[in-house]
């Protein structure tokens, strides 16, 4: 169903605001809370705070998707890897371009309304990932972007003018930002990248109006704090635990969920015995003060760089005869997890891709590791690979099918152990890996039962990619490939219904929106944002 009241509601709001002698805030917090009620917009990273990346729009559906055509395209200004998930609000698309540029486009024409590029120092330190950006947050009349030099910048939605600009972390130490911030009630929450330089990571909340920091929660406890005994005497100081992907939020439970990354150094754990809390975990936080309510660690004592920075997808579904509030994640370590998001209780966990490192998960979800999985001087072949069975790319959950759609990477890595030498702002890795790629690796889009992880169907991909997925009420799942295919699958069966070759790896994150009564699907690939619709 298409909602046609988007433009109308904007007009009404504008008239009312003018009558009152002031301009109303464009996207107040309550509007994001109720994002499901305005599916023609895409108000936050994954569509709603649940991060399901599901569109209730159904104008594009199984019957007509074969007629999907290009509506317009936008060329990125600066070459680089484009991994953006656009926001669409009342006829305007806000997207990010590498490394940290924000551009506003008119969604009717694709024409640029404004663009903003921060001044990035030429000696910027980005170790651990390419210099990408995955999107903005919007709150009231402000757009927020994290930058690769470690800043959080607030921009006026109408002009792109800077309202404030603060340093979240010291880039000289290796802190940088690639994630889309998360806008809550008056606060902007961000995480940091940098574990590959041995930072001690944190999650920060900032006052949306002023940029003043409201709270900071470290993901690695200091000596004397709970969890410090899971580290060596001083290894917590360089423990990593990056927070580089957008979290999720449950307004009813008032809990903020944030995933954490690998311990540092990545592949040499000689100086960090123990579980290394709270790395490779999910933290449930009180958004008022950042206090940790509960945690669940997916990969204790990680030696393979298996960050848990994958999307934390929230949905409610029956488990054991009653509807429960769930949090699900397809983890980089190749297991799919289902937790009770009120308590952190482990409910289910099964492999969704090939893995050779764990016998199984125990009753509490802790992995029982196999012997001989550690990186070594001569190399140790383990599945999944260094980039994981999953990574930053978004899965999708459809409340219509109850299925969790996930891009899975079937690939191994020969893991090497090396020296770890800490010098601030330089690589602190302790090894590395050689990917087993080419024809020996492959990928798939898999539909997993949301509450169990049991696979219902898969659609094979030529190579293990970085495809984000979008499911829709039209019964479709949109995804892409490393070889430049962008396609729509039947959400119930996985059968391909439409595809196009866009000429470069699909690394963008798909969304859907509607304007003037027409539904669109947007995806960035190569250096281009493509927007499709059905005539």
């Amino acid at each position: 169903m298409i909602h046609r009241f988007g433009a109308l509601s904007t007009t009404v709001v504008l008239v009312l605001a003018m009558a009152a002698g002031r301009v109303a805030a464009q996207v107040p917090y309550q509007r994001i809370v109720r994002a499901e009620s305005e599916p023609h917009n895409w108000l936050t990273y994954g569509g709603t705070y649940k991060q399901q990346r599901f569109s209730p729009l159904d104008q594009i559906n199984k019957q007509n998707v074969s007629r999907l055509k290009l509506a317009w395209a936008y060329q990125i200004r600066q070459a680089g890897i484009v991994e953006t998930s656009p926001i669409v609000v009342d006829g305007i698309m806000y997207l990010t371009e590498p490394p940290s540029t924000v551009t506003a486009l008119d969604v009717r024409s694709g024409r640029t309304l404004w663009t903003y590029s921060p001044t990035i120092p030429s000696d910027v330190i980005v170790i651990g990932s390419p210099p990408v950006n995955r999107g903005v947050a919007i709150l009231d009349d402000t757009v927020f972007v994290g930058t690769i030099h470690g800043h959080l910048i607030a921009l006026d939605t109408r002009s792109g003018a800077v309202r404030w600009d603060i340093a979240v972390g010291d880039n000289k130490q290796g802190f940088y930002l690639t994630l889309a911030p998360l806008a809550l009630d008056g606060k902007i929450v961000v995480g940091v990248s940098g574990a590959e330089t041995g930072i001690r990571a944190y999650i920060d909340a900032y006052d949306a109006k002023t940029g003043r920091r409201v709270w900071r929660t470290y993901t690695v406890p200091a000596a004397g704090e709970p969890g410090a005994d899971t580290w060596g005497p001083s290894s917590w100081k360089t423990g990593g635990g990056s927070t580089w992907l957008t979290g999720s939020y449950d307004p009813e439970l008032n809990l903020l969920y944030w995933a954490t990354g690998n311990p540092a150094p990545d592949w040499n754990a000689d100086d960090r015995p123990g579980d290394n809390l709270y790395t490779d975990a999910v933290l449930a936080l009180n958004p008022a003060d950042g206090k940790i309510k509960w945690h669940f660690q997916f990969t204790p004592h990680d030696v393979h760089d298996w960050d848990a920075n994958q999307m934390l997808v929230l949905f409610d579904a029956p488990v054991g005869g009653r509807v429960r509030k769930l949090l699900a994640q397809a983890n980089r370590n190749a297991f799919y997890y289902v937790l009770d998001r009120a308590t952190g209780e482990f409910l289910a966990g099964v492999p969704y891709a090939k893995q050779t490192w764990a016998e199984k998960l125990d009753a509490k979800g802790r992995p029982i590791k196999r012997k001989g999985i550690e990186p070594s001087l001569e190399g140790t072949l383990i599945f999944p690979n260094i980039q994981g069975a999953a990574n930053w790319f978004s899965p999708s959950y459809s409340p219509r099918t109850g299925l969790f759609y996930q891009g899975a990477r079937e690939m191994g890595t020969v893991y090497y152990k090396g020296e770890a030498e800490f010098q601030p702002g330089t690589a602190f890795l302790g090894g590395g890996g050689r990917a087993v790629n080419g024809d020996e690796a492959w990928g798939a889009i898999r539909a997993l039962e949301g509450t169990t992880g049991k696979m219902k169907w898969e659609f094979k991909l030529l190579s293990p990619g970085f495809t984000s997925l979008l499911s829709t009420a039209g019964g479709l799942v949109f995804g892409g490939s490393e070889e430049g295919n962008f396609f729509a699958l039947d959400a119930d069966t996985g059968q391909p219904l439409w595809d196009i070759q866009v000429g470069a790896a699909v690394r963008g994150i798909p969304i859907s929106y509607a304007v003037d009564g027409r539904q669109y699907v947007a995806i960035a690939a190569g250096f281009t944002m493509f927007v499709f619709s059905v005539n």
Partner: protein, 265 residues
Amino acid sequence: MSRNRLCAGALFLALAAAPQRLNAAQAVSDVEQGKKLFQGLCVTCHGFDGAGGEAPPLNRPRLTSAPDEESLRKVISQGIPNRGMPRVRLLTGNELRQLVAYVRSLSQTPQPAPRGNAERGGEVYAKAGCASCHIVKGQGGSLGPALTEIGRLRGPQYLHQSIVDPAAVLPRGTLAVPGRGFTEFLPVLVVMRGGREVRGVRVNEDVFTIQLRDATNAFHSFRKSEVETIRKEPDKSLMPSYAKRLNARELDDLVAYLSSLRGEL
């Protein structure tokens, strides 16, 4: 410059570049540690003791892409992506010094003289009809890999194997297309609906399509959903084995000839 003088010079450079003064025992230790690193990170492609394989031998006095210590450090640190050499992993300064010391030490080991004669090998190349499928110095057919600089890219052992058992050593990672580590010149059999067969080598592929060149060097493009079967044959090659067509001396001569091809047009 003699080989020994070059090695002494390399050792001097290593000493000068080190953050602290190294004694002889340290230098020996570096070589030993470097060997361990090499056997983990490099041996798969460059062969045991750097004797060469899918990647060039490293036990030569002058390495093409790394003629001096600084360029060797750079090659190890950054790889040579357009020649298929990855940066396997980031190394600490200490590890890099050790690996460089070991690779530089390889050329101190006396190497056996090439078994074949390159000049005679050129005649074998002509007689065997290799030029019908391979380009050398601009001349020849383009069904198989161009060989103008094959001596820079492959070691003698690999070249020998590629002549007697081509299917065992299908190249990968040397061409921009299909790239990303995919096997190159991969034989593929496509069976159309109705039974017509097309056999060729894969040029490129994506999720929904595949592109081939057949034995006549003609291009074919298929949409996967519109054909009956697509069978990839990684254990085959369109190139026949020359194990029984050439005698041992001819094989050695041909390998010597191919090893001498270093990019000159």
